[in-house]
């Protein structure tokens, strides 16, 4: 067996071993859940995410564990994160709805006109790919013209079609990303009894109690506190940062 074949075999075995270990860990966590040990299951799912990265299934199962522990804020956070990776998963949407009902934190996002519904039809990740495809089509068409020219009419027609479609699709995707750029600043309140403060101190006067599981928009930060605005209302104030974890990773 040549060295390259041995190397390939090693890589394959490592990958297969990783997949097997992950699947076994997932099975263990699921077994804990099915046995009614939701705390152990939640810890196992979180450990899986920390070790191997977030997957839609792990986040969804973590949400189920938190739901069973009646920790509705963390459950909503896990479901919302799962829906980032798998935006049209019916199980995620159904359980998210149940968690919101249980937390009395109904989705108070305003009803959208048809054009906003179009922009919300895909996830931000999917819109990113739409923009890339929209940019690649004109670029490849131009490159083909530059390299070979259009010796035949159908080639020219195809290139013009790719150019037009690329520009339209890319523009739509870019507008969607621009319109939804603030979603990076969204967070979920996970504290059971959150109280917004007028200033970033524990003793500051209360500005309101938005309830667990509410979607908030993150603002300024100060000494471990973050200023949040509650989505769908005029309520805003300061919360400890740990009580409002962001939906998406921050800082990069």
């Amino acid at each position: 067996m040549s060295v390259s074949r041995k190397l390939l075999l090693c890589v394959f075995l490592l990958l297969a071993g990783g997949v097997f270990v992950r699947a076994a860990a997932m099975e263990d966590a699921n077994a804990s859940f099915n046995a009614g040990d939701f705390s152990k299951a939640a810890i196992a799912y979180e450990s899986l995410i920390a070790k191997n990265g977030a997957t839609a299934s792990t986040l969804y199962n973590l949400g189920n564990s938190r739901f069973r522990l009646k920790e509705y804020g963390p459950a909503i956070l896990a479901y919302e994160r799962a829906s980032l990776l798998s935006p049209r998963d019916p199980d995620v949407r159904a359980n998210l709805k149940l968690a919101r009902q249980a937390a009395a934190s109904y989705d108070e996002s305003e009803t959208h006109p048809w054009w906003q519904s179009v922009l919300l039809a895909l996830s931000l990740h999917e819109w990113s790919w739409v923009v890339i495809i929209g940019a690649m089509l004109p670029a490849l068409a131009t490159l083909a013209w530059g390299l070979a020219g259009f010796s035949r009419p159908w080639l020219k027609r195809s290139a013009i079609a790719a150019l037009v479609v690329g520009i339209l699709v890319g523009s739509l995707g870019s507008f969607a990303l621009w319109h939804r750029r603030d979603e990076r600043n969204l967070a979920i309140i996970t504290a059971a009894e959150p109280t917004l403060r007028l200033s970033p101190f524990p003793e500051a006067a209360s500005a309101g109690s938005p309830g667990t599981g509410r979607i908030v928009r993150l603002g300024d930060r100060s000494n471990g506190w973050v200023h949040v605005s509650v989505s769908g209302s005029t309520l805003s104030g300061w919360l400890p940062e740990k009580d409002a974890p962001p939906l998406m990773p921050q800082g990069s």
Binding site: E108, T111, L198, S199, G208, S209, S252
Partner: protein, 607 residues
Amino acid sequence: MLRMFLLAGIALLTSSLLSGHAMAAAVTATLEKSSIPAGEPASLSLEITNGNVTGITPPTLPDVTLTQRGHSSSTSFINGRVSSTVTVIYLVESLKPGDYTIPPFSVMVDGVEMKTAPLKLKVTASSAQAPQGLQQGNTPPGANAAAPQDTSSFGFVTVEPAAKDRNYSWVGEIAPVRIKAWVPVDAQVTRVAKIQPGGSAFTLHNLSEKPEQKQEIRNGRRYTVLTYYAGLSATKAGIYVPDLTLSATAVVRDTSRRRPRDPFDDPFAGFFAPSIQKDVELKTLSGDDSAIEVRALPLDGRPADFNGAVGNFKFEHLNVPNQWQTGEPQSVSAVIGGEGNFNLLAQPEVQPAPDWKCYTGQSEFTPKDAASFSGSQSFRFTAMPRKGGPQKVQLAFSYFDPATGRYESVMSPLQNIEVRGADLTEGKPAEAAVEAPKKAAATDTLAPLHTEDTAAHDLLPLAFRPAFKFVLGSTGALLMAGLLLGWARSVRHDPARTAREAAERAEREAMHEAESFAARGDIAGFFAAARRALQVKLAAAWSRPAQAITLADVTARVPADSPLVEFFREADRVSYSPPAEPQAENLTTWRARLREVLQTLNPAVPG
């Protein structure tokens, strides 16, 4: 010498910076005024310098209220010293005249508890215009709602629910309210900001932008009343006071700058005191009568399709096609009108639900009042029948009626439709996937665990990662490369350029040939080659084939005495009667003339 100065300067700067870092933390509290009238606030500033604040414990004092107003922080670098200051502003207020000593503030700075010095505050009797019942203890019990205490001479805020038949609310219910800001006509309030909810479990919805303004008399005093419309909703069960604050700017007489004198010394009661602008807050009053009980929505009888809508709703319009085909989706529309939180109204479902598959569609709300409390919501979605044959269908949705305290399921009238085609078989993967949440909702239990793990992904969408910019930059580079290549190719294959280069090449060859004939003294050969060179040159200029350019053409376009015509004429003559012997010496003149003619033809040839 210069080096010594530099070293000394660096040493001085370093010691300054070190000393700046080593500055000790300090906490001070200062009062804006040491004497205030009852009912008027004074500003108290708590300054913490050079330290990381982890907690502040304000003092408590009977009859004196201390309300945090805001905070600011600053960092300065003066003479090499770094200084950071955090300032927390409080409003101190009392309704009872007397001499007070405000106890020290306790501030945790870098883990060490520090205390401020006590402050002296004198509260004098309020002005004569203070309304009755201003002071604590004068108000009859239970009279708060009817005659609120005006704790500020600049006014107060009242909240009036539109529905007065019950004194409780439900979680999620948006109760339409009138919010009135009462400003005494003699208080010069110049600007009002938006109303903000304070420390309560209530949230404001759809607050009207521009208030209605009119004057009203309340408890014998005339007020300018700004009326806003909004929806007030509670997010959790309990008993709360709707606490609202309206920030405003008022023009007041700054009597603090005058010497305290006997009132009889100032017959104009401070009329000539200078005016200053002051930020004031109009607040709602806390009291048992203004508290609202918020009840949790009951779990008993909660329909599976309930999504949090609280109010009173009904179908206003329906459009369900009469002809269907199993497995083929069609559009269904419905308009639901009424009052309540429309944003939580779920899309109606086609019944009987097992025979239909409904997709999430679009909805649009049309308000009918300023607070968007009443209105109608139109739904347009796609439905697909699973079962063939004649059917009776209806649309259904549910809501919670706050008046009766019960869930209501609303059904539209039955409609006869015809569905062509055979029944769809169950068990298709896509169908099963869509069924899962409905089953879960129907039994109010979670959808089951996912056993199959998927590939790990970054939660951060691609658009927010640096790689996205790199990919877009690469496509831009590809685009530019394509454009450059295309330009280079078009330049390379330009017909005019090709023709010009061919003409130059032919001219060079003809000239070379002519020179060769001239060297040998071959007159006929020389003139034939020279004419060919001229024809190539003229062909490029006149856009004609070189062979087609004859003496006649040249004569028609160029003056007859031109050297060009003379050259063509001589070439014709030599070709018809060539000389018997080589005459190299005669060709010297013609060679020079040929170069001259070609030179003149270089820029352009008339014609």
